[in-house]
Symmetry: C2
DNA sequence: GCAAATTAATGATTTATTCAAG
DNA sequence: CTTGAATAAATCATTAATTTGC
């Protein structure tokens, strides 16, 4: 497609590119993770993902963060449209024996939404998503407040360290991603907790070109 | 107000607090900056502000970021309400010669909005803000793409370093805040460029309690 | 074929809502 | 009830596809 996604990480060249242009591999992997149920990765997760994807081209945490934001949102709106079309098609072709059997469970057919732990695994796709906006998950617990979000940048200084709160609920860090490079899709699992641990601090202090130009503009208070 | 805003930075105590509780001084300063026209501080600005405010109590970049977000939004909605009330009061007192002169330019009268450079100085408050949502500034230039935003956290590793892009346009870092503690309001200025520089890396590596528990969950791709 | 002109995708920001601590 | 925090929705802006005239 395009040449090779020349980035600005190179030593000599000035910063030329503007926005991240993911490689096909990166996209595939991100989609894979998405399919696995990841929607709003935590800060840690973003770090990990970023590290991994760095093997396939330039990428930053904020890119991962944005990707999930956008993908989730656009997936949602796509589905919304589909549902809408479906409904319309249905309404225009009346007299369809609407007798859809009373729904195996007790839930009302249509307009339901799964609690979607959002940070965990999804039961997988569907989830009809009706036209208008409905309430979202009831914020069941306090689940990892230190959300990814936040990513993006930080120019100078690595000074922050958001207390990884985790208000004493659940584990220290949620169990996640039992999947491995083998590509074997495993089904659901409520708390598989695979303590694999193979992050291998890769981008440890890769803060390239920290020009320490911290003295530039001043704030007057 | 409250005891002393006990934070989790202390050596012994575990992380107890939940949300930032700004001191009166911090609030005053933030409001001061807001009055000076700051609305969406850049990453650098947030860093600077944070550093300054740290003298008056615990605070993080994300707190500053959120504060401006919220303050801006709530200021806006407050004004919206006021404008609405104003308009309503007007509509209920009809026969008001609505003949607003045909507008000097060719634009339609009403529903105007100031370009508001947003990252620079504001002409100061008002700016009627009509009830419904209207278009916003035309993104006149490319101004500092690496927006503040982003703040919040980053748990472990200081690995990122957002290339402070600035696509070759303008200066390296935009000239900002020529204001000094004196409080002298100066008018507009397109590029004042006050190279004051007195950040004094304060929170350099204050990343307390980095448990390096980086090995916990793994990502399977 | 190919380069300018359009259009479609999608990365990056900003704004609006919502949740919940105090 | 105020407001810090977090997420979703709406936009903006840039890059890739695709089309069009030559």
């Amino acid at each position: 497609m395009q040449t090779e996604n020349m980035d600005m990480g190179g030593p000599g060249g000035g910063q030329v590119n503007s926005r991240w242009n993911p490689t096909q591999e990166q996209i595939s992997m991100l989609e894979s993770l998405y399919k696995q149920g990841i929607r709003t990765p935590s800060a840690d997760q973003i770090q990990q993902i970023t590290s991994r994807l760095k093997d396939y081209g330039h990428i930053e945490g904020k890119n991962v963060f944005y990707w999930f934001q956008n993908h989730k949102a656009r997936q949602r709106q796509k589905q919304k449209q589909e549902s809408l079309a479906y409904i319309n098609r249905y309404l225009h072709k009346p007299h369809q024996p609407v007798f859809a059997r009373p729904c195996p469970n007790g839930v009302v057919c249509g307009s339901y939404y799964l609690p979607q732990s959002d940070l965990g695994f999804y039961p997988q796709y569907p989830k009809v998503l009706l036209p208008s906006g409905f309430k979202r998950r009831p914020w069941s617990e306090k689940i990892d407040k230190a959300r990814a979000y936040a990513f993006t940048d930080r120019k100078q200084q690595g000074a922050n360290a958001i207390n990884s709160k985790c208000y004493g609920n659940y584990q220290e860090t949620l169990p996640l991603f039992p999947l491995h490079p083998t590509g074997i899709l495993q089904g659901r699992a409520e708390s598989v907790c695979s303590l694999g641990s193979n992050i291998s601090a890769e981008d440890s202090i890769a803060t390239t070109t920290t020009p320490s130009s911290s003295s530039e503009n001043t704030i007057g208070i």
